[in-house]
């Protein structure tokens, strides 16, 4: 819908003879957010306060995850029934409630938020749309623009994370949005009448009231709203067996000789690598990082990238790794916490595995693996008998032991076929980086970051490798250009934006 209003017309509702006037309220929600409940509460509050109220909605797709609008009009009862409109009009909405940040944005683009008129009550949390979720990289939209637009378009804004608040109160967002509305003071009704409406509705009253009251206080500024928490990786505790202490200290020493700016990331990378294999592997890691460091200069971006991506490259995801992660104490605790298992309850845990022929043979010792991978007969034999999904019960001893055994292969990882191919791949990439680093650090830094393109397992992993190869292949085209680094970054971002690689094709074409 366009925003063009008839410029000549000042189209405001005129009040009744007794000063009574119609209040319009639109609520934009995503299906399943309880917009219907909210609507009923607001209507009830209005009627309790001697108002005529009318609500409309378009049901049907509501619970089927689409964006939906609920609309309410109310007016002080003077004995006559006002003529209420049935849907919100551009420039005619007094109160706009949005149950998600992008829906608030949608309300603005649809003209439901009018300067010096509309009070916006919006939850700032995000529910990523499918379009945002399916990108191979990070397809999520940055909400900043919406928040800014809100500030400009609205007369008064009450915006905070009402979803988190509701969850913390053990309730759902409809209660916290009602609290936001009450707290905004946009409606001439007492806080008590809102609470009465909630009590009258009869289900989950306590929790609803908790969420309502907290949201009310946040809206009135009496309480700090829940802040967006950037998740911090839980600081992991380090346990070093006595016999490995010396090696570990040596690694720490080398770490401290790296450029200051790169040390933090290198420390994390080192942890990751040693945790993945052993201290010797950590030494290999530091070798590579140091090779880059000596070619680098302040602000040592290239070294930081190396610290990050070399660790990722060296910690490729193989069966051993997965088995190891899935059999750790910390992991079981996290699962129990996530699905909240109480002490008097038992947890049944099923893992979904599907090791294909490729995964199997590459987990074999180099020679054997190579021979098996060539043998057609063995392949068909495997496919016939073993290539199927496996459900492994890791809450049972049998299943757990199976994975535990696989993880126990770790000391021999270096001798496995997969390791060989991975290390070949890594060194080709890394040597290229070193070669470039000597005359174009920026470009080298981008080449390092390209390893981001390699992720996933089996087919997804294979796809990642080929995308990586295509992006790296562009080096020829970019050779000697002074905007080479910038191009390399653009190519990578294109590759991450869609799975089919159409964006990348386009980007590659535009280079030459």
């Amino acid at each position: 819908m366009s925003l063009t209003k008839n410029p000549q017309i000042v189209a405001r509702r005129s009040p009744g003879a007794d000063g009574e006037h119609i209040i319009t309220l639109a609520a934009l929600a995503v299906g399943g957010q309880g917009g219907g409940v909210l609507t009923n509460w607001i209507t009830a509050v209005a009627e309790m306060n001697g108002y005529n109220a009318q609500s409309t909605s378009v049901a049907g797709v509501a619970q089927r995850t689409g964006a939906t609008i609920y609309y309410i009009e109310m007016c002080r009862d003077t004995g006559r029934k006002p003529v209420f409109a049935l849907s919100p009009s551009e420039g005619d909405v007094d109160i706009l409630i949005a149950a998600e940040l992008m829906e608030a944005g949608r309300a603005i683009t649809r003209g439901f938020v009018t300067p010096s008129r509309t009070t916006v009550i919006a939850s700032t949390h995000r529910i990523p749309a499918v379009k945002e979720k399916v990108a191979p990289g990070d397809g999520r939209v940055d909400g900043k623009a919406v928040l800014e637009a809100m500030g400009i378009a609205a007369d008064h804004v009450v915006a905070f994370d009402m979803e988190t608040l509701a969850k913390e109160a053990g309730s759902v967002i409809s209660s916290s949005m009602l609290g936001g509305l009450a707290g905004s003071g946009a409606l001439p009704f007492t806080k008590e009448s809102y609470e009465d409406a909630i009590k009258a509705s009869g289900r989950g009253v306590e929790a609803s009231l908790r969420a309502f009251n907290r949201a009310y206080d946040c809206a009135t500024g009496k309480e700090e709203a829940p802040q967006p928490v950037n998740p911090q990786k839980a600081l992991s505790v380090l346990t070093v067996p006595a016999k490995l202490q010396r090696q570990w200290d040596a690694l720490q020493k080398r770490l401290s000789n790296l450029p200051q700016d790169a040390q933090e990331l290198a420390a994390l990378g080192l942890k990751k690598v040693v945790d993945y294999q052993d201290p010797a592997y950590g030494a290999e890691y530091l070798d590579r990082v140091e090779r880059i460091a000596v070619l680098d200069a302040a602000p040592f971006t290239m070294t930081q990238r190396a610290a990050k991506y070399v660790s990722r490259a060296m910690c490729y995801d193989d069966l051993l790794r997965v088995a190891d992660l899935k059999t750790r104490r910390t992991r079981l605790e996290r699962v129990k916490d996530e699905v909240s298992v109480k002490d008097d309850q038992v947890l049944m845990l099923t893992e979904y595995f599907h090791p294909r022929f490729e995964e199997f043979v590459t987990t074999m010792p180099r020679r054997l693996g190579r021979r098996l991978s060539k043998s057609k007969r063995f392949k068909s034999f495997y496919t016939r008998h073993f290539d199927k999904g496996r459900r492994i019960r890791t809450d049972r001893l049998g299943g757990y032991l199976m994975l535990y055994m696989v993880s126990a292969l770790r000391p021999w990882r270096r001798s496995l076929l997969r390791h060989e191919s991975e290390m070949e791949h890594v060194s080709v990439w890394f040597d290229k980086v070193v070669e470039i680093a000597s005359n174009d650090r920026a470009l080298a830094a981008e080449l390092l970051a390209n390893y981001r393109l390699i992720k996933g397992y089996s087919d997804t992993h294979a796809r990642g490798l080929s995308t990586f190869a295509r992006v790296m292949g562009a080096l020829e085209l970019l050779h000697g250009r002074n905007d080479a680094a910038d191009w390399m970054r653009r190519l990578r971002e294109a590759a991450l934006s869609d799975e089919k690689g159409e964006a990348l094709d386009g980007a590659l074409k535009t280079i030459a």
Partner: protein, 714 residues
């Protein structure tokens, strides 16, 4: 069992004289039917009139008391044909359906009904699914009223007016021996308001009475020469009778000052929007009092010439505010004015967009232009003044992600399309024909499957042209839901494919309900239903139609099996259609059914397993391949907070119902080992608890043993 229980609403149907009914518009209509002594009611569910059907389905006791027969018709054609009961007998009958699509299906019966005419009042309540929130093509039902000459009411969108129009509809129908359409817009159906009820009336004649004393009148039967008589009767008797009733009973309302030099002709359904626009222009107060002369047509077909001309008489300009296209009413009114030699200027679509819903802003702009053009004096100075310069609002249209409706969490149809997508990744793209129903969401991301949708139950029919000359060439794939299958698909899609030896693959998506319309029972529903015969097998029906290649899948969540069955069908040498019946219960309805039972069992100390899925964030590499095969609301992305990682990883929230799609897809597509199923056992048995304790003891010993020899970060 419908999506909602209507127990509360059913009680409202018992309200007596003077009591206040408050609720939805469509429920007010339901009550009004009973107050007007209706003998039988039928219809086919669909937004926005589903609730009428649902509440009556739950109201059997009341209907029995009153001797009213209610039927959930097999289709809109069935419903309309049902009105044949009012041809010879003075029975008041009402049917309802979504329009325009429902009327399309009904039109054969409608023409026959309209030709012979009716004795008893016959009301067709059409839920006009037009404008924002509509789920269908944008057409007007008005054309059907015109071509079959059945009258059409479009009452003002407030409960008293809507209720009144039900009574008027029956009387108009009886006065003119013509079926009457009562058009209600989406929002009128869903508007919450109140009206003063009257007592329910037992029909003067019940369908049983009629059966016991059969009647027949040759002149009412649609067969030449009677048909010629019918046409003449429509024009010479029924039409004038209709106009007479409309005028005598002031079905259309006039507001404002008749002396005004300009006037507005408005559909009842749009009256509120017009009044709001006038109010915003200071030309009406909030109660609708205005000096502007308004003819509000609660009967939009036929238009009473005398009334139109009288209203326009002495006016300089008249503005017809009509929704949708073609602008039939404006054309008719223009014709009337021209023929009467009137010099009143007629305005209409010139000032309004030709098509689309008449939103508040559109009507406001149209009215403002009309007034500026023909009565600038009426536009208050204050209103013509320029706006205070408004701040420039940034354009967000570029960044806002679209949010179309999609499959619910745990939907059994998701894995069917995940499997189809996997087949296409393997065998390349196919021509895919979609149908009406939840499964049509397959055309949206992440699945992007389906090329056409040609109407309810017509998915396979819409692929029938695709006959491949080379036997082992590509086959078409078509989908049809269980609802569409019984509605029309059995003959039009399956029968047609069998008879013409179509080789295509047909997937019948069976989720135990007519799910998209609100979870009503249909022939193949698995639920016990006191008033209906359910549990009729789709597979048997398909075999009965002569299909030789049939596969029944009883767990759609088995993506691997679903994929392999599709591949088998696509590669089958068998002649004729390959039909796959994929059955699993609609999760929305299943949860409604199972949740309370579970809660009760847990309270009662019984052993209950609650499944949920999760993702190991250390194992997930953040490539989101799983989401490209799911789009489940409970499967989303989250940040890890790990500086060594760039992309968000997959995460499953507590809304997960443990349907298993994630894991099955990860397995079938060989994605990754990140997914796990966690079943929390409530009230576990003692031995179970003991075993769990022992196992975890051994596990932690193993863990300690391993950690002793390596540097770990735990």
């Amino acid at each position: 069992m419908a999506e909602r229980s209507f127990a509360k609403e059913v009680e409202k149907l018992r309200l007596g004289k003077g009591e206040t009914f408050s609720g939805e518009g469509i429920l007010a209509i339901t009550k009004a039917l009973l107050e007007n002594g209706v003998s039988y009611v039928g219809g086919y569910q669909g937004s926005p009139i589903s609730h009428l059907m649902d509440v009556l389905a739950d109201a059997q006791s009341i209907l029995d008391e009153l001797g009213v027969h209610f039927e959930a018709s097999a289709s809109e054609a069935t419903a309309t044909a049902m009105l044949a009961a009012s041809v010879h007998y003075p029975l008041r009958g009402a049917v309802t359906y979504k329009s325009v699509v429902g009327t399309n299906v009904a039109s054969d019966a409608l023409s026959n009904l309209a030709s012979g005419g009716v004795t008893g009042g016959s009301l067709i309540i059409v839920g006009e699914d037009y404008g924002e929130g509509s789920s269908i093509m944008q057409e007007r039902t008005y054309a059907f009223a015109m071509k079959s000459q059945v009258w059409m009411l479009d009452p003002r969108p407030n409960l008293p007016s809507i209720v009144q129009s039900v009574g008027q509809g029956f009387e108009l129908s009886e006065a003119s021996n013509t079926p009457v359409m009562l058009q209600v817009h989406i929002r009128s159906c869903h508007v919450h308001g109140s009206f003063t009820a009257s007592d329910n009336k037992r029909p003067a004649m019940t369908v049983t009475d009629a059966l016991e004393s059969p009647k027949r009148d040759l002149t009412r039967i649609v067969l030449p020469p009677a048909t010629y008589l019918h046409e003449d009767e429509k024009l010479t008797k029924r039409w004038p009778a209709a106009e007479k009733y409309i005028l005598d009973n002031n079905v259309n309302e006039v507001f404002g000052d008749p002396a005004g030099k300009i006037g507005l002709i408005v559909q009842g359904g749009n009256y509120n929007t017009v009044i709001r626009a006038l109010n915003r222009l200071d030309l009406a107060n909030i109660y609708g009092d205005t000096t502007i002369h308004i003819l509000c047509l609660n009967a939009i077909y036929p238009l009473c010439e005398s009334q139109i001309l009288e209203f326009c008489g002495g006016k300089e300009a008249v503005f017809v505010i009509e929704e949708g296209q073609p602008n039939f009413m404006e054309q008719t009114i223009g014709h009337m004015l021209y023929q009467s030699g009137s010099d009143t200027k007629l305005e209409g679509k010139g000032l309004l967009p030709l098509g689309g819903e008449l939103t508040g802003q559109i009507v406001l702009d149209g009215l403002a232009d009309f007034l500026k053009k023909h009565a600038p004096g009426l536009l208050p100075a204050a209103k013509v003044a320029h706006n205070d310069p408004e701040p420039e609002i940034p354009d967000l249209t570029k960044i806002l992600p679209p949010r179309p409706p999609g499959f619910c969490t745990g939907c059994p149809e998701r894995p069917i399309f995940a499997a189809t997508k996997l087949v296409e990744q393997e065998l390349g793209h196919h021509h895919i024909a979609s149908d009406i129903g939840c499964h049509l969401f397959s055309i949206m991301p992440p699945f992007d499957l389906g090329a056409t949708t040609m109407g309810y139950g017509l998915g396979p029919a819409s692929a029938s042209a695709f006959h491949n000359e080379n036997k082992d060439g590509r086959k078409s794939i078509s989908f049809v839901g269980d609802g569409g299958f019984w509605h029309n698909g059995v003959a039009s899609s399956i029968g047609n494919a069998v008879f013409n030896k179509n080789d295509g693959v047909i997937v019948i998506v069976d989720n135990y309900y007519s799910a998209a319309t609100g979870g009503q029972d249909i022939l193949s529903s698995r639920a016990d239903n006191k008033t209906k015969q359910t549990k009729n097998s789709i597979t048997k029906a398909v075999r009965g139609m002569g299909v030789k290649w049939v596969r029944q899948l009883d767990r759609t969540y088995d993506v691997t099996k679903m994929r392999d069955t599709l591949k088998e069908a696509l590669s089958s040498e068998e002649e004729g259609p390959k039909v796959i019946v994929a059955s699993s219960e609609c999760m929305l309805n299943k949860q409604r059914r199972v949740k309370p039972q579970m809660a009760k069992a847990i309270k009662g100390g019984q052993r209950v397993e609650k499944p949920r899925f999760g993702v190991d964030e250390d194992v997930c590499t953040g490539d989101h391949a799983c989401m490209r095969l799911s789009g489940c609301p409970s499967l989303s992305v989250k940040d890890t907070g790990d500086p060594l990682r760039d992309d968000p990883v997959a995460a499953i929230d507590q809304t997960c119902v443990g349907c298993g799609n994630c894991g099955e897809v990860a397995d079938a597509a060989v994605l990754c080992p990140s997914f796990y199923e966690a079943r929390v056992v409530f009230n576990p048995t003692t031995s179970e608890r003991r075993r769990a304790k022992r196992t975890s003891g051994i596990m932690s010993w193993l863990q300690k043993r391993r950690d002793a020899n390596r540097i770990v970060f735990a």
